[in-house]
């Protein structure tokens, strides 16, 4: 399968610059838009982080306080996003839910990327039979559809915030391992690594001072995309009733309940659905921006 990846054109890196048929100003406009897209990503991620940190404080109501005279109320001045089947304020629940979502997203990515990077660096640097065996194991993990594997892990370990993060991490760590291993393999062949080795530098020094800095930028890109994935996966697990358990408000559980009232109260699904959309879009754009900013091959030649 590695051969199939190798055959795929490396995409954007080799993409030839097409001579624009339009004027300079029009071109500049589009380039500006291109940068603005990254900016949109940064703004969305900041917005989300703000909500996650201050969500509980700025929430107008207690997110788990029921108001049984005011159930399934449509959006109004008192309840901007309406109320749910128990009269709880949707906006407040949404804001409180953002904390869990972002927390799961970031911690799951850390839990996946750190072991992934360590495995990738070690086997990529050592090579040989250990490399072959570890790569087959990672292939094995990657063969599982992520959500199916995460679902199985949570159902075996039991539903809790930590187990959800662990399950998401287990489904994504092989991607980091593969990515880093490929980078290290390429990096190992560079002349300067040979030069450092020839003056007698120890492996640990070569890895930490010279190999790691070279492989870390694709990891950052992958991590940014990974947060978006983890947020979606958490919502998926909670939606299926296997994530974070009620009454803690999470976007996934809000969606699960909301679907039962879709006809009369569509905001109950669409509001948290839109939040997931914003979160994933933000982290995807941020990842794309990081890719362009960090890839030396893509720096425009002046």
């Amino acid at each position: 399968m590695a051969s199939a990846i190798a055959r795929t054109p490396t995409g954007a890196a080799e993409e030839p610059r097409v001579l624009p048929r339009q004027s300079f100003l029009v071109g500049a406009f589009y380039r500006f838009i291109a940068r603005r897209l990254v900016l949109v990503g940064v703004v969305l991620v900041f917005f989300l982080t703000f909500l996650a940190v201050f969500g509980r404080i700025i929430a107008p109501y207690d997110p788990i306080k029921q108001d049984l005279v005011n159930v399934l109320a449509p959006p109004s001045a008192a309840h901007v996003l309406g109320t749910d089947e128990l009269g709880r304020d949707t906006l407040s629940r949404l804001l409180t839910g953002s904390t869990i979502s972002l927390q799961v997203g970031i911690v799951a990515v850390l839990m996946a990327s750190i072991p992934g990077v360590v495995i990738g660096v070690v086997v990529g640097y050592r090579g040989g039979w250990a490399d072959s065996i570890v790569m087959r194991i990672l292939d094995g993990f990657m063969a599982f559809p992520s959500l199916v594997l995460a679902l199985t892990i949570v159902s075996v370990l039991g539903a809790s915030v930590f187990n959800v993060m662990l399950a998401i991490a287990v489904t994504s760590f092989p991607h980091y391992g593969r990515l880093v291993r490929g980078q290290v393999l390429a990096c190992r062949e560079f002349d300067y690594i040979l030069a450092i080795r020839s003056v007698g530098a120890r492996d640990a020094r070569i890895i930490f001072r010279h190999v790691l800095p070279n492989v870390i930028s694709p990891v950052l890109v992958q991590a940014s995309l990974g947060v978006g994935f983890a947020i979606t996966a958490e919502a998926g697990l909670s939606f299926l009733g296997l994530g974070i358990q009620p009454p803690t408000p999470t976007w996934g559980t809000m969606i699960q309940v909301g679907f039962q009232y879709l006809e009369i109260a569509p905001w109950l699904v669409m509001a948290p659905g839109s939040m997931i959309f914003i979160a994933v879009l933000g982290f995807n754009l941020l990842g794309d921006g990081l890719r362009e900013a960090l890839d030396p091959h893509l720096r425009p030649v002046k």
Binding site: A4, R7, G140, L151, I153, L262, E263, M270, V280, N284
Partner: protein, 319 residues
């Protein structure tokens, strides 16, 4: 050629073996005596002697690696044990659930390919134009929009309000093909957006690359119409990487099926997975996970093989 095919298949064996090992290990991480999964709740109905006999029969008195061997051997022949509750063989529970999932998967694939390739071509033929930007935005949105949001909007508008499509349920294709397509249209659209986004991006970048090749200039210099240059000469080359991407996305469709089949009440493998998790039917779960992973591995083998046949640069005679 036969050597090439066999070689690719053999390369898939260790991966399938590892997935089986992971599934087996997960099964063993469950608390409790595995014998309860075989005799079920009715444990008291069996005498200790009978339980010991069953334990021996299933090899549960053997060392763990022998157990794995026995389990793998049975799984390879389609014997995943019996259901906890209905006492039916696990495979006979799974097989009827395969059709809806497979049908939706195929529809998703076709839709994603149609949408992704057309938008990708639109983007690639005039890079940096407004059309290109529409394509880029569409791909960004398609990649980020969660299943829930698409599903809720479609269901609200087309099923609950306009009442054009059924909100849930599944009609088998052999019963009524039209009704069957109607019942699977919304889940397929929901699943295909993310895939279409990936296809769009890949089609655009590989087509832009191909259009720079000298043979395209030659074709244009010959006076061929742009349409012919793109469809007949360039697309063939540009779609090869798209094929690889589609192969890698089989897992995405499987994972998505768990969500969409739950939302739209489709009696497929995804919903069976959720049902068996809820009912603690571990043997059904184990079998489903293994079948899903094996399908993904085999799909990648098929893509690899297709690639070998379609790309003249890869010599298949060398194996």
């Amino acid at each position: 050629m036969a050597r090439y095919v066999v070689g690719r298949l053999i390369a898939a064996v260790p991966v399938i073996f590892i997935t089986a090992l992971i599934v087996f290990t997960l099964g063993h991480m469950l608390p409790g005596d595995p014998i309860t999964f075989i005799v079920g709740d009715s444990q008291s109905a069996f005498s200790q002697q009978q339980i010991d006999a069953i334990r021996h029969d299933y090899g549960l008195d053997q060392p763990i690696y022998v157990q794995f061997g026995i389990w793998l051997e049975k799984a390879a022949t389609g014997d995943f044990g019996r259901s906890f509750q209905s006492r039916q063989p696990v495979l006979s529970i799974i097989v009827p659930r395969m059709l809806p999932t497979a049908q939706i998967a195929i529809e998703t694939w076709v839709l994603a390919l149609l949408i992704g390739v057309s938008v990708g071509i639109m983007s690639a033929v005039s890079p940096n134009s407004w059309k290109d930007w529409v394509g880029t935005f569409a791909a960004l949105f398609g990649a980020a929009i969660p299943f829930f949001l698409t599903a809720s909007i479609l269901m609200f508008v087309f099923a609950l309000h306009l009442r054009w499509l059924p909100a849930s349920g599944y009609v088998p294709i052999y019963q009524d093909p039209i009704a069957s397509l109607r019942s699977t249209l919304m889940p397929s659209i929901v699943l295909c957006l993310g895939l279409a986004a990936v296809v769009t991006r890949q089609t655009r970048s590989s087509l832009v690359e191909v259009l720079q090749q000298p043979f395209v200039t030659t074709a244009r210099a010959k006076g061929l119409r742009e349409r012919v240059v793109i469809v007949r000469h360039s697309l063939k080359n540009a779609l090869l990487p798209v094929l690889t991407i589609m192969g890698f996305q089989v897992g995405h469709i499987f994972g998505g099926a768990v969500i969409t089949e739950t939302i739209f009440a489709i009696p497929g493998m995804g919903r069976l997975m959720v049902e068996s998790v809820a009912a603690r039917e571990y043997l059904v779960m184990q079998a489903l996970v293994l079948i899903a992973a094996t399908t993904v591995v085999l799909a990648n083998v098929v893509v690899d093989l297709l690639y070998g046949f379609l790309d003249p640069r890869i010599s298949i005679s060398r194996g």
